[in-house]
């Protein structure tokens, strides 16, 4: 059977993480630009949410490898098909990589890594100014790349929904379209 939509679990993970990752990016740029008292709760949330996203992303990757994805429309032009594949590889790499880079960056700076209000996580790297700088740069620049990629992803999703109307959006859509209730589901 060819699946018409992502499984319910995949759709839940997608939308949950969409909210989480957007919050993460906004908190990230917000917290580093303030000295106000909210800096501390923001950075605490950033760490906890980062760990949560890492766990969810690993689950999501396993689910994706298990269930796969619905096929793209047969008439999708090759460049768009390629862009779709590449951007999804990049999104998976970033949603797993960014939390790990952040965790490693804090480890390389010898900061205790505390999440969820009091869970002390182990250091995953030894202290090193060279590694810290490398990871800091990666975390900083990849955050902007990540946000740009998410905007591209949103634009592409809306393009599928509103312009091409080819059913791609509906494969991950939060609501079930009446004419999409495939008997197999």
């Amino acid at each position: 059977m060819i699946r018409q939509r992502f499984t319910l679990l995949q759709r839940i993970l997608h939308w949950l993480m969409a909210v989480g990752m957007l919050a993460m990016l906004f908190i990230g740029v917000g917290m580093v630009s303030t000295v106000a008292p909210k800096y501390l709760p923001l950075i605490a949330i950033h760490k906890s949410l980062g760990i949560a996203i890492l766990v969810l992303a690993l689950i999501r990757l396993a689910v994706r490898l298990g269930y796969g994805a619905p096929p793209l429309p047969a008439d999708l032009p090759e460049p768009m098909r390629l862009a779709a594949y590449l951007s999804h590889y990049a999104l998976y790499a970033l949603m797993i990589g960014m939390p790990l880079i952040g965790w490693a960056m804090l480890s390389a700076a010898a900061y205790p890594v505390v999440a969820f209000g009091g869970v002390f996580l182990p250091a995953i790297l030894p202290q090193s100014d060279v590694l810290h700088t490398l990871l800091w740069n990666a975390h900083f620049y990849l955050a902007f790349a990540f946000f740009a990629l998410i905007l591209l992803h949103v634009a592409a999703a809306l393009f599928h929904l509103l312009v091409r109307r080819d059913g791609v959006f509906e494969t991950m859509g939060p609501v079930t379209q009446r004419n999409e209730l495939a008997p197999a589901e």
């Binding site: 630009s33 303030t34 800096y39 501390l40 700076a109 393009f159």
Partner: protein, 353 residues
């Protein structure tokens, strides 16, 4: 293909593209706003760090303030008395490894000792459960200004060429007059060992019952203060304090008692420029013992950020706005100096991989 609405495809396609552009544009603008790029008035940590920059340029590879210093290692001996106020492991009777840094409140790592009025200590106490208590304290008995914005204004006024800048500042932040009086009248000492180190910021201790106590802590030196004139200190050499403390510790460990003052209801916790009255309940919770001194370039304190918001369970921040502002600015300073490590070479003997 699934649904195909009956609208004219061409016209709605154009409208859809506009809609997509608007969605992306609004999201990007919200992101830029959140990041402060549309709010030049926002007090950012980068601005504070920038305001420390001396006319000769930033001290590459060094802390952006309290840039001159020397590392120490030792232990914190908790006597158990702190457990009545906080459930943090560090107050349970016992010995815990301590790492720290004596320093001078200057952005110039080469400033002669006698030119720097404020001395400080960075401290990190580690407990076996992996938790840490970091603090950065100074020998002033109160902080010069009551808000982070006031501190930023002070930095700007200090480096301003406008002859009235300081006068304007005192008008806006009258509390700073007390600092001026202290700087003029407080005696100088010829040793880091003879200085008290005051936390100044109010923190909250949480005890085993969950009750919260607003506190400020101080390290009081065992060594008696021997006043010295500023001129005599200057004659001893530009780096006398580092040499002296190393020499003194070679002769035996040095100690400070940690005293925690507990606020009465109504005491100002949000304003470190206002000292609490002397009669407040205090608890002596332990002793810091300094056992070894190491030069900073290869020392264990070099790449530690003494961020005062790195706290164990049982200690948390209060409504004092400074720890957050300090944490934010210290982070920027740390990120800069670790990226500039090549400008502050380690020496061969203690070089890290």
């Amino acid at each position: 293909m699934p649904h195909q609405p009956p609208r004219s495809p061409r016209r709605s396609a154009f409208g859809s593209l506009v809609l997509i552009a608007v969605v992306v544009g609004v999201a990007a603008a919200a992101f830029a706003y959140t990041g402060g790029w549309l709010s030049p008035q926002r007090l950012t940590p980068d601005k504070i760090v920038q305001a420390f920059t001396p006319p000769t340029g930033p001290p590459l590879g060094h802390r952006r303030n309290h840039a001159k210093g020397v590392c120490f290692t030792g232990v914190f001996e908790a006597n158990g008395a702190g457990s009545a106020l906080s459930r943090a492991t560090v107050f349970t009777r016992g010995q815990y490894p301590a790492l720290g840094r004596f320093n001078l409140g200057t952005p110039d790592p080469n400033a002669p000792d006698a030119t720097v009025r404020v001395r400080g200590m960075g401290l990190r106490i580690s407990t076996p459960d992996g938790q840490e208590w970091r603090a950065a304290m100074i020998d002033l008995p109160f902080f010069p200004v009551s808000t982070p914005q006031g501190f930023y204004d002070l930095l700007l006024a200090s480096s301003s060429k406008d002859p009235n800048a300081m006068k304007t500042l005192v008008g806006a932040h009258p509390e700073i007059a007390a600092f001026g009086a202290w700087a003029k009248s407080a005696p100088w000492t010829g040793s880091y060992a003879e200085e008290p180190y005051n936390g100044l910021n109010a923190f909250i201790f949480i005890d085993n019952s969950g009750a919260e106590h607003a506190v400020r802590w101080s390290l009081r030196p065992a060594a008696p203060a021997v006043p010295i004139s500023n001129e005599d200190l200057a004659k001893r050499g530009p780096d006398y304090l580092e040499q002296e403390i190393a020499e003194r510790v070679r002769g035996g460990p040095l100690s400070w008692t940690m005293v925690v003052a507990v606020a009465n209801p109504g005491d100002p916790t949000a304003d470190p420029s206002k000292a609490w009255p002397e009669d407040r309940q205090t608890a002596t919770v332990g002793t810091l013992i300094v056992q070894q001194i190491q030069a900073e370039a290869d020392g264990p304190c070099r790449d530690i950020n003494f961020d005062p918001t790195v706290l164990p369970s049982g200690i948390t921040t209060s409504d004092d706005p400074f720890p957050a502002a300090r944490s934010s600015a210290y982070r920027v300073s740390y990120d800069l100096r670790t990226a500039e490590a090549k400008d502050y070479p380690r020496t061969a003997t203690g070089a890290k991989p």
